[in-house]
Structure formats: C-alpha cells, structure tokens
C-alpha cells in the first residue's frame, strides 16, 4: 500500500478534518462515474481505489503505526468475505436497509462490493445505480461468470418486456412479407400451387 498521506496529498500531521476535506476533493475529481465512455476511466478507477484505501487507513485511527510503506498490506479486508456473506443474506431476506448500511461502511469497493450493491439496487428498484454497479463489477473482474450473468439479467428484463410491443405491431404482414412467404411455400411444395405463380 502506498503512503496514504501522499495519496491524499496532505502532510503527515494533517487533522481528521483535513483528511476528510482532501478525500472529498479527490473523490470528486476521480469518481469513475464522470468518466463514462472515456478511456481514462480505468485510470480513474485505480486512483479512486487508492484514495479509498488511504482514506480508510487514516480514518481507522492508526496513523502513527507506519505499516503502509513496509510492503505489507496492513489494510486488507480479510473479514470482508464474511461481511459480504451477511450482506447477501440481508438482500435475500429483503432487509435492504441493513445491507445498505453494511455496504456503505466498507472502504475498499472491489468487484464483489459493486456486485452486491448492484444486486441490492436491482432488488429495490434503483436500476440506474444497479447498472453502474454491475458494469463496474464486470470491468474490475471480467472473467467472473456471476457478475456477467447478473449484468445480463438486468439487461434481459428490459429486452423481454419490449418483445410484445415491437413484435406484435409488426404481426400484420406487409406486402413484401407475403411475397416472401409465398415464394418459400412454392419452393417447398415444388408445385407452384400457392399464389399462382
């Protein structure tokens, strides 16, 4: 982990208030949602992850233990898998408020975090946020089947709903359709009995 003070561009004896201020400023600047369709998006995402990590590290209240540049990852979310499991249970049981507050307390917003937030948003009807979360999850971990299928499910809701509207209206065959059908019938039946041609 990089030196969190450097990441947040503050001095080593900055107060909590200053840390917060610096974090907000940087988060605004690098938030990936501003880089929709922009090649810089990946860079912004990495930067954002660093910022989040640094901020969490400093706000946890151990700024004097200089773990961060020893090469060890002192701030790792080892407990996160257990937490993610409980969030999943909450979402499953419809306890959205609980799930949300747990997720909001997580510092490192990795692929799994985005996936769970996406599922939560999908379940409570926040589809734009769900779209953003799930596509972020897929981008962070492109080979994950679970993320991909959740994302496909979200797009599928829309597609299958539109089918009757865009399908049925074109049920009345236009003249080209009729000709083509007759032509096919002619070919299959070999006789040319249909349509008299």
């Amino acid at each position: 982990m990089k030196n969190p003070y450097e990441v947040l561009e503050i001095s080593e004896n900055a107060s909590k208030e200053e840390i917060k201020k610096a974090y907000r400023k940087l988060a605004k600047k690098y938030h990936p949602d501003q880089y929709d369709n922009n090649p810089l998006r990946d860079l912004a995402e990495n930067k954002m992850r660093e910022i989040n990590e640094a901020y969490d590290y400093l706000m946890k209240g151990n700024p004097n233990q200089e773990h961060y540049d020893t090469g060890e990852n002192s701030y790792s979310s080892e407990n996160s898998s257990g937490m993610y499991q409980s969030v999943e249970n909450d979402i499953y049981n419809g306890n959205f408020k609980n799930a949300e507050s747990k997720l909001m307390n997580v510092g490192t917003r990795d692929a799994e975090w985005n996936y769970l937030m996406g599922i939560l948003n999908l379940r409570r009807g926040w589809y734009n946020d769900a779209y953003n979360n799930l596509s972020t999850a897929c981008r962070l971990d492109p080979n994950n089947f679970k993320y991909q299928s959740a994302f496909n499910k979200l797009s599928g809701i829309n597609r299958s709903y539109r089918q009757p509207y865009y399908g049925d209206q074109r049920k009345d065959p236009d003249i080209c359709n009729i000709c083509a059908t007759l032509y096919c019938l002619d070919c299959f039946c070999g006789g040319g009995n249909y349509g008299g041609c």
Binding site: W126, Y127, N128, D129, Y131, L154, I157, N158, Y161, Q169
Partner: protein, 292 residues
C-alpha cells in the same frame, strides 16, 4: 407530472376503450359527487388508471349508466357508477393536485397556481376521516421530494426519484393488506419512478431553456452540454431506466389476482407505457413530430 399512464389505442379492443372512458367519466362524476364541481377540472388519466387497477381486485357487479353531462351536453356517455375505488382515486387526485399547486406557487410564484390552490383548499374539508392519514403521507412524501431536489449534492437519479416512487407505491397499496399490498406497492414504486423520470425527460428542453431544475439535467449533465447534444447522449440510458421500471410494473401486475379489467390493464402496462416512451423520445410514428 400527470397523464402518462394511458392505454395504447391501436391495440385496444373497442369494449376496453369504452370501459376506459366509462371509468374516466365515472371518476369525474365521483369528484363532483364526493368533493365538488370545481375540482373536476383537475381530472387526469393517471388517476383513472389507479381506479381501474384497484377496481380490478374487487368482486361484484359493476353498474353503468348512460347519461349526458355538462362537459358533453350533446352525446350521452356511458358512465361507471360511483364505487369505493373511484372515490379513493378522486381524493388522491385532489390531494396530489393541491400539493402540486402549492409547490408551483412557491417555486414559480405563479399567480394562477396560488389562486387555484386557495380555491381548492375549501374542498379539502370534504375529505372522509379515514383518508386524512393518506393526505398526511402524501404531504410528507412530496415535501421530502422537493427537499431532495433543492439539495444540489444528490446526483443519483434513483435517489431523487425514490420519494415519488414511494408515494405512488403507497397510493396504490394503502387500501390492501398482506401479499397483495406488497405486490401493489412494488408496481406503484416502479410506476412512480417511471412517471417521475419520463416527465423529467419530456420537460428537459423546456427546463433547460428556462434554467429550471430538471432531475435528468441535474444528475447526468456534468459537462453542461446543450440540450441537443445532451439529450442525444443520455437518451439510451434513460430508455434503459424507463424500460426496466415499466418491465417491473408488468411483472408485478402479472402476479396480482386480477378479477376484471385484465386486458385493459395489460394494454396500458404492456403497450401504453412503451408508446409514451416512443412519444417522448420521438421514435417510430412520432419521429417527425414537432416538440410540444
């Protein structure tokens, strides 16, 4: 913000067309009978949908009458006789209009809204005891919505549309219990969001021109693009959100124990909503239509 939830005429059976009109006239009569003559001018289609949906869960015969009315003095109209669903829709309609007028008075300093709201207030006394709780809930939800809109920090369209979704969910489900209540709430929640967002897109040009608050402009237009550029860029995403909301309305509807009006409601939710989306996005048959 009203009038988006209507049937799609091209796919509508004549009997369902007549039925829709009978509900519409029935709601108008219900407002006259339960509230007063003047508030009838606020009649709208969304509230007709509300009456049709709630009535579809009821059993028993429906009574129709055929008569003339003041607005259509020449031709006799088929009118559905007053029933609890129509009465409920009538009071919801007046409450929503009342708070909308109050908000317009405050925001736009509109004299017309001010006069109308003062005039309408007298009619609120006709509200039955058991509706007063609903009136308070509607008031609180809308107040919450206006507060969120004024706080410039919120940049999530889902977050902004949430109170209106909750409000519509509440209105659709408040008279039911148990499992049906949950399903109606989810239908209403998605429909409310759909209405809020389609209304914002419909008004986008006008709002941007007059520099009024618009949820879509506020949430997505971080680069301050002009209307032409911005609307082109954002259309696909808005279409996605609206389509998903509408799809979820349909899914919730399919799970309801509908006893009548099924085809009419199916038409509205399956075709009507998508047709309105074509209209605001100027697609299909609406492609060359001028902006409203």
């Amino acid at each position: 913000m009203f009038g988006y939830v209507t049937p799609y005429k091209m796919e509508l059976k004549i009997k369902d067309y007549e039925k829709f009109k009978a509900y519409y006239c029935g709601l108008c009569k219900s407002i006259k009978h339960n509230i007063g003559d003047f508030p009838r001018i606020f009649l709208n289609y969304d509230m007709t949908f509300l009456a049709i949906l709630l009535d579809s869960l009821e059993e028993g015969r429906q009574n129709y009458i055929k008569k003339r009315c003041i607005i259509h003095p020449v031709k006799k109209k088929i009118i559905l006789k007053d029933n609890p669903s129509l009465k409920y829709a009538a009071f919801c309609s007046i409450s929503l209009v009342y708070f909308k007028l109050l908000d317009d008075t405050k925001d736009e300093k509109s004299i017309k809204s001010r006069i109308l709201s003062v005039y309408l207030r007298r009619y609120l006394n006709s509200m039955p005891e058991n509706f007063k709780k609903n009136f308070q809930v509607i008031k609180n939800k809308l107040r919450n919505l206006y507060k969120l809109e004024k706080d410039s920090g919120n940049k999530s369209i889902d977050f902004l549309a949430n109170p209106f979704g909750e409000l519509t969910g509440f209105i659709l489900s408040s008279s039911q219990d148990g499992d049906i209540k949950k399903k109606l709430y989810f239908l209403g929640y998605n429909l409310g969001k759909w209405i809020y967002i389609i209304d914002a897109f419909d008004d986008l040009n006008e709002d941007m021109r007059r520099e009024k608050f618009n949820a879509i402009d506020h949430c997505f237009n971080s680069k301050k693009l002009s209307f032409d550029e911005f609307s082109k860029q954002i259309e696909k995403r808005i279409d996605f959100i609206l389509g998903t909301c509408a799809a979820q309305c349909m899914n919730a509807f399919k799970a309801l124990p509908i006893k009548r009006n099924e085809e009419l409601l199916y038409n509205i939710l399956q075709y009507g909503l998508l047709d309105k989306m074509d209209k605001v996005f100027r697609r299909g048959v609406y492609k060359n239509e001028k902006s409203i």
